[in-house]
Symmetry: D2
Subunit: 342 residues, 4 copies
Amino acid sequence: MKVSVIGASGYIGGELLRLLLQHPNIEVIAATSNQYKGDYIFNVHPNLRGYTSLKFSGHDEILSSDVIFLCLPHGIAMSHIDSYSQKAKYIIDLSSDFRIKDINQYYKWYKKKHEQPTWLPKFVSGIPEFYRESIEKANYIAIPGCMANASLMALMPLEKENVLGNHRIIIDAKTGSSGSGATPNLSNLHAQRSGTVRLFKSMGHRHEAELKQEINKDVQLTVTSVELVRGIQISAHVTFNREIQEKELWSIYRKYYNDEPFIRIIKQKKGLYRYPEPKILSGTNYCDIGFSLDQETGKHAVIISAIDNLVKGGAGNAVQVLNIVAGWDETLGLNFIGLHPI
Amino acid sequence: MKVSVIGASGYIGGELLRLLLQHPNIEVIAATSNQYKGDYIFNVHPNLRGYTSLKFSGHDEILSSDVIFLCLPHGIAMSHIDSYSQKAKYIIDLSSDFRIKDINQYYKWYKKKHEQPTWLPKFVSGIPEFYRESIEKANYIAIPGCMANASLMALMPLEKENVLGNHRIIIDAKTGSSGSGATPNLSNLHAQRSGTVRLFKSMGHRHEAELKQEINKDVQLTVTSVELVRGIQISAHVTFNREIQEKELWSIYRKYYNDEPFIRIIKQKKGLYRYPEPKILSGTNYCDIGFSLDQETGKHAVIISAIDNLVKGGAGNAVQVLNIVAGWDETLGLNFIGLHPI
Amino acid sequence: MKVSVIGASGYIGGELLRLLLQHPNIEVIAATSNQYKGDYIFNVHPNLRGYTSLKFSGHDEILSSDVIFLCLPHGIAMSHIDSYSQKAKYIIDLSSDFRIKDINQYYKWYKKKHEQPTWLPKFVSGIPEFYRESIEKANYIAIPGCMANASLMALMPLEKENVLGNHRIIIDAKTGSSGSGATPNLSNLHAQRSGTVRLFKSMGHRHEAELKQEINKDVQLTVTSVELVRGIQISAHVTFNREIQEKELWSIYRKYYNDEPFIRIIKQKKGLYRYPEPKILSGTNYCDIGFSLDQETGKHAVIISAIDNLVKGGAGNAVQVLNIVAGWDETLGLNFIGLHPI
Amino acid sequence: MKVSVIGASGYIGGELLRLLLQHPNIEVIAATSNQYKGDYIFNVHPNLRGYTSLKFSGHDEILSSDVIFLCLPHGIAMSHIDSYSQKAKYIIDLSSDFRIKDINQYYKWYKKKHEQPTWLPKFVSGIPEFYRESIEKANYIAIPGCMANASLMALMPLEKENVLGNHRIIIDAKTGSSGSGATPNLSNLHAQRSGTVRLFKSMGHRHEAELKQEINKDVQLTVTSVELVRGIQISAHVTFNREIQEKELWSIYRKYYNDEPFIRIIKQKKGLYRYPEPKILSGTNYCDIGFSLDQETGKHAVIISAIDNLVKGGAGNAVQVLNIVAGWDETLGLNFIGLHPI
């Protein structure tokens, strides 16, 4: 398949190129960037040296492709979706433009009117674990936000099994610096960002909108930047509507995830890595999930999940989705083991 | 005043020496360590080179002092408290041995019988912000645990003003590696600990016991190790028993902390450092406190606090307590500004 | 091919397992560790969860294999080499036991008598770039030390072209913490090791012995620990025996490395990554090489090389060597691109 | 004394404010920044909250002061030196404008004509250890560059004792990110800068010019960025013009530094901190110096020095210079011990 990556100079775009360039069934025919137009891709993504001699083309030089991946800043993809759709049969959007189904919610969270409301129903939610059958038949897929994805993987089985209570669910997320993108500013300046534990969003993070679309509960997402480049870990503090036993929690998670190629349940009694940790996931498409039940009450639990925000939180998930769309083995090009120590 | 530090080769002990060696009214006459007995102190704490030519003595060579600081591992101080009390008028204990007033609670959390229950009522809680008057008259003071202290500073004003609801309070704490001490083991091996986001205690952390002694609510402390040497930041997710406005929250915190020399309320509308962050507190005795109210409901808030775990979370707090006991200016020897960037 | 890894619980052993478990032509039949005997491998190497259900066996339970990899501490392999050789046709040793050909040099650098001098000539030096033909025919191969390897890749072309002057060559190496192994001690305790710039060996590092075996010059290796888990970068400060032009340096390095699958010459005029850097090499088998000539004199240059110490500096190089020995494509199982950012 | 800081929003400016605000004999009357004019200083330097309620004024609002500190970008101070000199008796410049005495050298290294050659001889070199007597009588002082200062402290005793050989001296410097300033760009973006070992200047760094002004030898400065915010460590590889014994090296360094309040000779036989390391110097005005002699030849040595680039490499050195100029105790306001661990 011939694919183009629009907006390929950012971190999600670069990660997508890394995965696509090694994918056995894919040929990357174009990667665009207005800022770096004409430069070799490996000048911006130095890890790709030796793997491609392609140069960045401009956003307006889009070739006919089987698939177009959109890695543009939020709010751009929707303006050009008509023209993209004339160039490719499949469009996989990694921005937030087509994630929120309800235009009122879109307006509430993004403070602007959605420009293409008629396109919204054409987009399928790119969450293989819960929308695989829709994805198989879709032409247009919206990849969820990184923190939404990590949170949904933790909460969806509980939501679907109807065990969540009505108390506010507190999601305390810790995130690395690559999530804030490749554009330098004061908040990601090394001397300021290094070694920080910076609560930058106490509530009202936009990924909450995606959560609330799937989880019919009061959910609060609190996000803290920690010293890390790649990776997200979330601790979701939940209450149950009845007493739960550990055995039942195990069976709920096993029910939804036992056959999932990229979900591992991590809950060890000994060793250092008893719960999910992002650092051993760098470069992998895993979402590791664990939980700790309050055994005294049976009413409270902490659900932990961890991902590489650029892979399962973006580019890797997009490749997994393409594998499904194309009818290939879902793990094709995504079998990197992850490093330890790192 | 002549002071001795028992158990001076660990990180809390070393930090205490740093503060005491520059304190204008204090002379350090002994620092003990069985492991490093006979070695120069600056061989273990290299920052002290040029500030003392003292060598470590053994734990059994305790001199008569005005004050003895105990920085021993948990469970040791209680065994020798009688003999310490014969050597010094004032004892300031930085271990957990005399923090929990109720021996049943002590047994529950530490899984051993308290050896000196008659000593427990003699010890005053070393929290200047809430027990200053008792400390002034005390001879024996128990310094609180680092995470308990950071959490109490965040929650005590709400508890005292009786605005907390009955829902479980979730304290999501992030901590650096110095808190796990100076003894090498697999969990603090650099290659394993570096860059981690490791939830190591989902609930039931021993510092919960200290919290529950002061806060009459259901409190859960979840602790995650992050890449950091010094520092703790906690996000306390609270609910109120009635609707609260931001103005009221401000006045509650101002009421308790306006005159406190080491508490700053951090709640900025702009800039990077809008909430408390531990990294700019390294070496200082500050506890910075901030909060974010859910304006939609007025019922939920995130309270954020940050400290240097070795200073306000231990050695600095102990010096502040001594300043109170001795009737000196409470900030004596504790006026370091903190570094930025770092 | 059936392979066994002896000493598989350390970092080099774990990295080797990561590479072997995904190698298409290899089956790992045993991994030994006396310390973790009976434990699942993924309890020690958490990244391998889902890739193997093998448990560690003891060092004395060695099975007949096609290949045995030895990842033991220095000085152990030589004691058992006779028995290993009865279990496998090919032995690839990653320790230092068979690297030094001259037993007097071995004694000088390792302060012990070599126990198996008759085995020394049977071992071929595991440097594919310079000993490929010997490796093809070898049964026993000694993988070079990580810093020796990085340094040799930088210097060998200059040595072979006879352009190096007689002045002492200064190799200033910067290294990550994984190189010091998986056994906790004070020097690799996170709070002590974090953020350090620690010169731990000014001269006389044992890898100098390996350098001097190949480079007939006065060579000094100065090693500094920096904040990093994986990776080595070396700056080799060389003088030439005549004036050299940049064009000639290019042609020297191209001559030796143009056809090498794992050597890239990195010397960019613009961009951030103008010279080799280890961080984008994590997990890859590359040795990136660059140089900067003193254009004013033509007599001095800095040669820079970077590797992942666990891959090209050990486990990856060993797999590359096995690919050569087995007659397979030399890059089999070694085609990971490397991550950016990381 | 009343002092003004011109260019106070950068990292050197902020560090200077930290030191001046706690200096017992100094009152800061103005701090300028065109970018942040009108903002509270503590919004930019969050560590200063509670220590000053001053706001930034514009560069053109300079008040009459006893002392003006100039922390402007290179090339700006010289344009306004006449007007500054009318506002203050003493000017202490932390930029590079008045460091190089020879205008031809200035042109060579800075690629622009010096605008104020007549001012050059009025400026004294701000190196207390070697120019204390000139500083005592000076009105205008130029503080040396951070890497030049660290290197000069290592080399000057050897130069003055005439023991250096003619071989090129290789200074391999490792530096933190704060040295590149507070303006965000791609090279100091956290995700790019984090965990790097980036050789960014192989030779020809501008601080070489300052070195060559003092050391009459062939000197090469190679600079590598490592993961660190504050701190510089240099390894200077020197050769001697005759055989030297360790005892002699000791006596050379003792001769020059025994009475220096901010130089410590670090050369331990045991322990972790055997040579100078920048991390325990954060916030201090120390320059730690150590050395390792090649005992076999007596002809080669590695001289190691470490500083906090913002303190002894800039702001702290400037305060030390002011203490000398004013006739105060040279250590006034500079007695912070340094943190460990950190």
